[in-house]
């Protein structure tokens, strides 16, 4: 049995425990009708049963190796994800559209090491599309920054 089999099962068990814990103050059954905790509690029970079934299946079957990315690829994915996380943090200060333009440039220039001109063109096209569709067409009020964008 591999860690990749055990860890997701354990996480599901932990989640089931958290659900059982959080719904303990809610009613399970009110006179003739199921209460708000009824379905969550049964889901927590199902989680515990699936934990056992998954471990049994993993024990019985030959472990399939997980294709984790190589270190460089993992760093690339983590860095891109870092860029994504930065968007909702930056957007209230610089505006959502400029934050997305920075994301595109960050991914293309810093992470994927693409040439400057096509990267600038890609950022401009992406921002133009977002602005045309979401702001001009759909009228979505995207948060603006100090530049009014």
């Amino acid at each position: 049995m591999k860690k990749s089999d055990v860890v997701p099962a354990l996480l599901l068990l932990a989640l089931s425990g958290a659900i059982a814990f959080d719904t303990r103050r809610l009613s399970f059954w009110d006179d003739t009708t199921p209460g708000p905790a009824f379905v969550p509690v049964w889901l927590a029970v199902a989680g515990a049963v699936l934990f056992v079934l998954r471990l049994a299946e993993a024990h019985r079957m030959r472990a399939v190796p997980v294709e984790w990315p190589a270190r460089a690829a993992l760093v690339r994915v983590a860095t891109i994800f870092g860029g994504l996380v930065a968007v909702p943090l930056l957007a209230p200060w610089v505006g959502l559209v400029p934050a997305l333009a920075l994301l595109v440039l960050f991914v293309l220039l810093f992470v994927l090491r693409q040439a400057l001109r096509p990267s600038l063109a890609t950022a401009a096209i992406t921002v133009g599309l977002i602005y045309a569709i979401f702001v001009a067409w759909l009228g979505v009020p995207l948060p603006r920054g100090p530049l009014g964008l």
Partner: protein, 493 residues
């Protein structure tokens, strides 16, 4: 009014400039999304769902459905020309399609795939026309217990048919159900599973979850690879089929289309399984099975016909019962809900204009796709030369705006990011994501109908076996859970 008259009205609804434009845009985007490795039709539909807020519901659904079946056509290009399936349902096409391309017959492979997809698609939509109304009329007899069992069947069937590991699929479905419990209890209005977080009171929206699970996760997984294979070239004049090609391919199209439709109608199976089964069946039927894997044209025709037929067949349970049969139809169902339309057996009567316009749009969409894929295939093949590195950041940016635009709150952006990470881990650990999405969509129906059933029966579980209809559905649920056990034992034996 009979089905053909209603279909005629559906065509009348479609033939407005706005609707025709959106059908064209939908199938075009589907074609492009299908051709790009790393993003499938469900992801494309989730990403573009926010774009439909400003248009009438029927127009929106026609466009999104166009992405769904357009993706089945587009996936062929990458499979044949690059040997990388554009999306999961095109995996089988790579086996013989790329071999044909290596033998200088890429045009013939693309041609038979387009014609096969078109014939099977049209046949499948015709079947949708005649199968859906009686099924919906029958389903009008359903009551709370049947709805509960139907929703449960949608989830268990997906888990048992759509994955190598039923426990992994069930874990995904259970996670989806657990996530759907967050927020306010639908009957008493009590907050639950919010863990004291005010932002969770309104629950977790489907849209940012789908955007994260499909859009962000798939792009992150694709960006692990930095290299990009160059596509092979194809020319218009290479696309003519010989009499021999047609003779070899026509029955494969018929068989693939039939298999695809029936697999598509079954909840949870979907186009990927349909194309695999069609390929296996075709190899078994073939007088020359040794040609398969070495460039057999029937090895391209059958899976391509099957995946397109299945994507249309999956609309039957969605339209007639309100139960999505695949991840793409789950997004389509969510789109209906977002546009204020209640899915279920009443949809065929309450929203007849929308349903029949959607079905009619599928005929038009398939015709447009045939044109796009025959004379214009070399043009789309040229699109594959655009480096994915330049497309990926744009997809990520649109994902974040889409998540934000759904409620104009950053909470949904964070939810999309969290589901993006979850989806990436699910891809890595080989957990299917469709059961999670289906469970998210079906959870409200499942919970409310279960509680209503128990309220009606004063807590007795007998209500689930008293009516023949519910007893039959319960038997189907039990079968869907026992089938994987039987299949595993047969495999060992």
């Amino acid at each position: 009014m009979d089905s053909l008259q209603l279909l005629g009205q559906g065509f009348a609804t479609c033939f407005t400039p706005l609707n025709l434009l959106f059908i064209f845009v939908g199938v075009l985007i589907g074609q492009i999304i299908g051709a790009l490795p790393g993003i499938g039709p469900a992801a494309g539909m989730a990403l573009l769902l926010p774009l439909t807020y400003g248009v009438p519901p029927a127009t929106a659904i026609m466009m999104l459905a166009g992405i769904m079946y357009g993706g089945q056509y587009g996936g062929t290009l990458t499979s044949v020309l690059v040997n990388v399936p554009g999306e999961a349902a095109s995996v089988m096409t790579t086996l013989d399609g790329h071999q044909m391309a290596r033998q200088g017959r890429a045009g013939a492979a693309l041609s038979i795939a387009a014609i096969g997809s078109f014939i099977a698609g049209i046949g499948s939509v015709l079947a949708v026309v005649f199968v859906t109304p009686p099924l919906a009329a029958f389903a009008l007899k359903f009551n709370a217990p049947e709805y509960f069992l139907l929703a449960l069947l949608g989830i268990t069937a997906t888990a048992s048919l759509g994955s190598n590991s039923p426990t992994k699929a069930l874990m995904g479905a259970l996670l989806g159900l657990m996530i759907a419990m967050v927020g306010v209890d639908p009957i008493q209005g009590t907050p639950r599973l919010t863990f004291g977080q005010q932002g969770l009171i309104e629950g977790i929206d489907f849209l940012p979850a789908a955007i994260g699970l499909f859009g962000i996760a798939e792009v992150l997984a694709s960006l692990e690879r930095s290299e990009q294979a160059a596509p092979m070239r194809t020319r218009l004049r290479d696309m003519w089929l010989t009499a021999r090609d047609w003779a070899d391919g026509r029955l494969a199209i018929l068989r693939g289309g039939l298999i695809g439709f029936f697999i598509g109608v079954m909840p949870g199976a979907g186009p990927t399984i349909a194309s695999m089964l069609a390929y296996i069946a075709e190899k078994r039927f073939s007088k020359h099975p040794e040609r398969f894997g070495r460039g057999a044209i029937d090895g391209v025709a059958a899976p391509e016909a099957a995946n397109n037929a299945a994507s249309h067949g999956a609309c039957v349970p969605m339209l007639a019962l309100g139960i999505p049969g695949s991840a793409s139809t789950a997004v389509l169902l969510a789109a209906l809900i977002l546009h204020g339309i209640r899915p279920g057996p009443g949809l065929m009567t309450e929203q007849a204009t929308l349903v029949w316009a959607l079905i009619a749009s599928m005929f038009i969409g398939n015709l447009i796709l045939l044109v796009l894929n025959l004379p214009l295939a070399p043009l789309f093949a040229a699109l594959l030369r655009v480096r994915y590195a330049y497309l990926a950041p744009g997809i990520l940016a649109i994902s974040l705006v889409g998540a934000y635009a759904s409620t104009l709150a950053y909470t949904n952006v964070w939810i999309a990011l969290a589901f993006g990470v979850l989806g990436w881990f699910m891809i890595k650990l080989d957990f299917p994501r469709a059961p999670l999405v289906l469970a998210l969509v079906l959870a409200p129906l499942l919970e409310s109908s279960l509680r209503q059933s128990l309220l009606l029966s004063f807590g007795s579980l007998g209500i689930f076996v008293e009516r023949p209809l519910s007893a039959a559905l319960l038997a189907c649920v039990a079968l869907s859970l026992l089938y994987p056990v039987y299949a595993a034992r047969r495999k060992v034996g």
